[in-house]
Amino acid sequence: MTISTETTLLIDPTRDPEKKAVIDRIIDENAHLPGAVMVILNELQANIGFVSEPLQQYVADRLRVPVSKVHGVISFYSFFTTTPRGKHVVKFCMGTACYVGGTPQLIEKAKAVLGIAPGETTPDGNITLEECRCVGACSQAPVMVIDEEVIGRVKPNKLPQSLKPLMEDSGTEN
């Protein structure tokens, strides 16, 4: 039973009173702005962590726009995700300087260390591996971003050291 409730809450955050309060606050604060859909979705992505289909429906209802419009925006921009991501997100910059500087080798190494491909999350829900667009730290190439932190001049043989604290972090808060 607990598992299914948790799963429902993950898919439909509006059923969680605490999250619903956050969602409602975000919508109330921004609904009056011209072009509010993007602003609200950006805030939801940042604060809830994903914008699932039930949440898209909820936003559409509150803003009185067709859900197709909300979904159209979600599916267009790469920053929006419809499923929860891992507790930690490890991103590798695929900008030109980083690519020339060795991002492909880093990703190979990360795949081997974490056992997942870019776009996937470890089975324990701890780490999501992603490739991302240029983060604008080209002079420190190759660059990876762990959560919000930019780490420059990454070397493949030093990579396991950087990932280790994240991997050990698994389960401590869950």
């Binding site: 011209p34 072009g35 509010a36 859909v37 993007m38 602003v39 979705l41 950006n42 992505q45 419009k69 159209g72 925006v73 267009f76 921009y77 790469s78 920053f79 929006f80 695929m94 900008g95 030109t96 300087a97 980083c98 690519y99 020339v100 500087g101 060795g102 492909p104 080798q105 190979e108 190494k109 795949k111 081997a112 260390v113 991302c132 667009r133 240029c134 983060v135 604008g136 730290a137 080209c138 002079s139 420190q140 190439a141 919000e148 932190e149 930019v150 780490i151 420059g152 001049r153 070397k155 493949p156 043989n157």
Partner: protein
């Protein structure tokens, strides 16, 4: 405003933050309070001093002494030595290093600082710092002594052209928008700097946000607008935060909002964030995104100056364009026009990246040659390798070979050479880069970022990518080169927006300048630069290998076997050609064949 005898600027770049820059700031404050110097010495947070690799770092003015590598425990010693005893704490003083690693170092002889004049010098989160550097005096001059027409006239005389890449004369854009009758009008700043390898706008937004705000306000006055938006990409959270702080401070000072400086001119600004779509740097897509829609471009005409954001006349300029406007107003059009070439006036910031000794941000007058940029400012190619190509203008730009090193940087010369100015990314590649692979890389990017609205771009880029992937995999066929050329031509001439029209440039320019490399891949099944995985083999040489096992331990697929202290062996069937073994080998015992 309070006066201090000394200012300490602590770098809070991502790398320095990770090394504890905030703790250093806190410790400095505590120590200055404890020693009673807090009213004499001001601690500021700034970005880009230039030695993050040795961070945390700080700059002490007026002496201009650069300290780096201290910890929280060193702060009492540093404060005592420098501020109480008045001597330089040599232990932490950073001496000029042979290989600079700065994003923005001290300018070399060939550089100038116009757009970047305040970078690293002022606290971007303190409007008073900007005002102390003559900030907002241009706005005051405009509002009290110039008509909107005079403002446009002055900008026209300066020769300022759009710094987003296309190089359209800024004053003309403004006058078109001013001439539109519909109201309200909008002033938009394109801060969606999506080109990989470019970070000039991030630098300006994070280190001198008020220059952009002042420039936009002057543009609003010239055009007759009362509302503006800055559209910033979501990948730049620090820039968004800095801008929001700056806007709030400007409002508090009466420099944004109703009746600015007591005049009847009103203007306000809002920051809008993108969500990771490269095409939103295209102006019509950008406006769609601000409206809360999918960022798909629309055909022009109608141009934004006639029918833009929310269907109203809008003016879209780049960050750098707005940031330079206050200085043109203050110092005069003639001063600005004295720099640069006949048709490209003033200065341009470039982001130097790639296989250079000194990478980072530079600002140079137009007309400087690529050779001067790469060798005099960039210090030449890393590890003294040979120069192969420089990629200008991001994924819509082209790759230029060594013959073009003496090309003067201006809009026309670059276009003539088959590339573009773009927003200013310069990625330099050494002999170790495979140009077919680079073309494939850019095509992968544009293919992924194509919004899918028009067929030539959506389908055409996919076809090009398919062919390039095949060539890199060693399965190139006779006729591929001709097909690529045809596709490039068709996509360029029939796509709707700048993304599609520019998308073939990396392929077309490498086909033109590096045709032999394509031929080697297709006909000889060889990758001359030894990059394309399907065409190379890693081998361990008998002599130099000491059997240290480093390669075997780092191999992600366990393709390396061998006894300790014996020559190791790579199994080519398991090897995925990732190159990690070569990077970690301390004895240069691994070669590519």
């Amino acid at each position: 405003m309070k006066y201090y005898r000394s200012h300490v600027l602590v770098c809070v770049d991502p790398e320095c933050l990770r090394k504890g820059a905030h703790d250093v700031v806190d410790a400095l404050q505590d120590e200055l309070v404890a020693t009673g110097l807090i009213d004499e010495v001001q601690v500021l947070e700034t970005s880009r001093i230039g030695a993050c690799a040795d961070g945390p770092e700080m700059m002490v003015y007026p002496e201009g002494i650069h300290y780096a590598g201290m910890t929280v425990d060193d702060i009492p010693y540093l404060v005592e030595e420098h501020f109480l005893k008045g001597r330089v704490a040599k232990k932490f003083q950073l001496t000029q290093k042979a290989e600079a690693v700065s994003e923005l170092g001290a300018p070399t002889a060939k550089e100038v600082r116009v757009v970047l004049r305040n970078s690293g010098k002022i606290d971007p989160e303190n409007i008073e710092d900007y005002i102390a550097e003559d900030g907002y005096s241009a706005l005051a001059k405009v509002l009290t002594s110039m008509t909107p027409e005079e403002v446009i006239e002055e900008v026209l005389a300066s020769g300022l052209r759009g710094r987003g890449g296309a190089g359209f004369p800024t004053a003309k854009k403004w006058s078109f928008c001013r001439a539109s009758e519909a109201t309200p009008k909008y002033v938009l700043c394109n801060a969606d700097e999506g080109d990989p390898g470019a970070f000039m706008n991030r630098q300006v937004l994070e280190s001198d946000p008020h220059a952009v705000i002042e420039g936009m306000t002057i543009a609003a006055y010239a055009i007759g607008s009362s509302q503006g938006y800055i559209y910033c990409r979501a990948e730049y959270p620090i820039a968004v935060r800095t801008l929001r702080i700056a806007i709030q401070q400007a409002r508090n000072f009466g420099l944004l909002g109703k009746n600015i400086m007591g005049t009847d001119f009103s203007f306000d600004l809002e920051v809008r964030m993108g969500a990771g779509a490269f095409v939103c740097g295209e102006e019509t897509a950008l406006m769609a995104s601000i409206e809360g829609k999918r960022g798909e471009p629309t055909p022009r005409p109608p141009f934004p100056a006639v029918k833009g954001l929310f269907g109203k006349p809008s003016n879209v300029n780049n960050v750098e364009t707005y940031a330079v406007v206050p200085q043109i107003i203050n110092k005069g059009a003639a001063w600005y026009a004295s720099m640069g070439t006949e048709k490209s006036k003033g200065t341009k910031t470039f982001a130097l990246a790639g296989d250079l000794k000194h990478t980072g941000l530079i600002e140079v007058p137009f007309g400087i040659t690529l050779r001067e940029i790469i060798y005099d400012i960039g210090g030449g190619i890393k590890n003294d390798k040979a120069f192969k190509a420089v990629q200008t203008g991001g994924p819509m730009g082209g790759c230029l070979p060594a013959e073009y090193l003496d090309l003067p940087m201006d809009y026309e010369a670059l276009a003539k050479a088959g590339s573009i100015m773009g927003s200013g990314g310069l990625v330099v590649m050494s002999e170790d880069s495979c140009m077919v692979d680079i073309a494939r890389f850019f095509m992968e990017f544009t293919q992924d970022e194509s919004c899918g609205k028009c067929v030539p771009c959506r389908v055409g880029t996919r076809r090009i990518l398919d062919i390039l992937e095949r060539i890199c995999a060693g399965e190139g066929r006779d006729g591929d080169i001709e097909t690529l050329q045809q596709l490039c031509n068709e996509i360029r001439t029939t796509s709707l927006c700048g993304l599609g029209q520019g998308a073939p440039n990396p392929v077309a320019s490498t086909l033109e300048h590096f045709l032999d490399e394509y031929k080697a891949h297709i006909y000889e099944k060889k990758c001359p630069a030894k990059v394309c995985k399907a065409l190379i083999r890693y081998e361990i040489i008998d002599g130099p290998c000491t059997g240290c096992t480093v390669c075997a331990r780092n191999c992600p697929v366990n393709a390396i076997s061998g006894e300790r202290r014996m020559t190791h062996h790579i199994d080519p069937d398991i090897c995925i050609r990732c190159g990690i073994c070569m990077q970690v080998c301390n004895f240069n015992a691994i070669e590519i064949n």
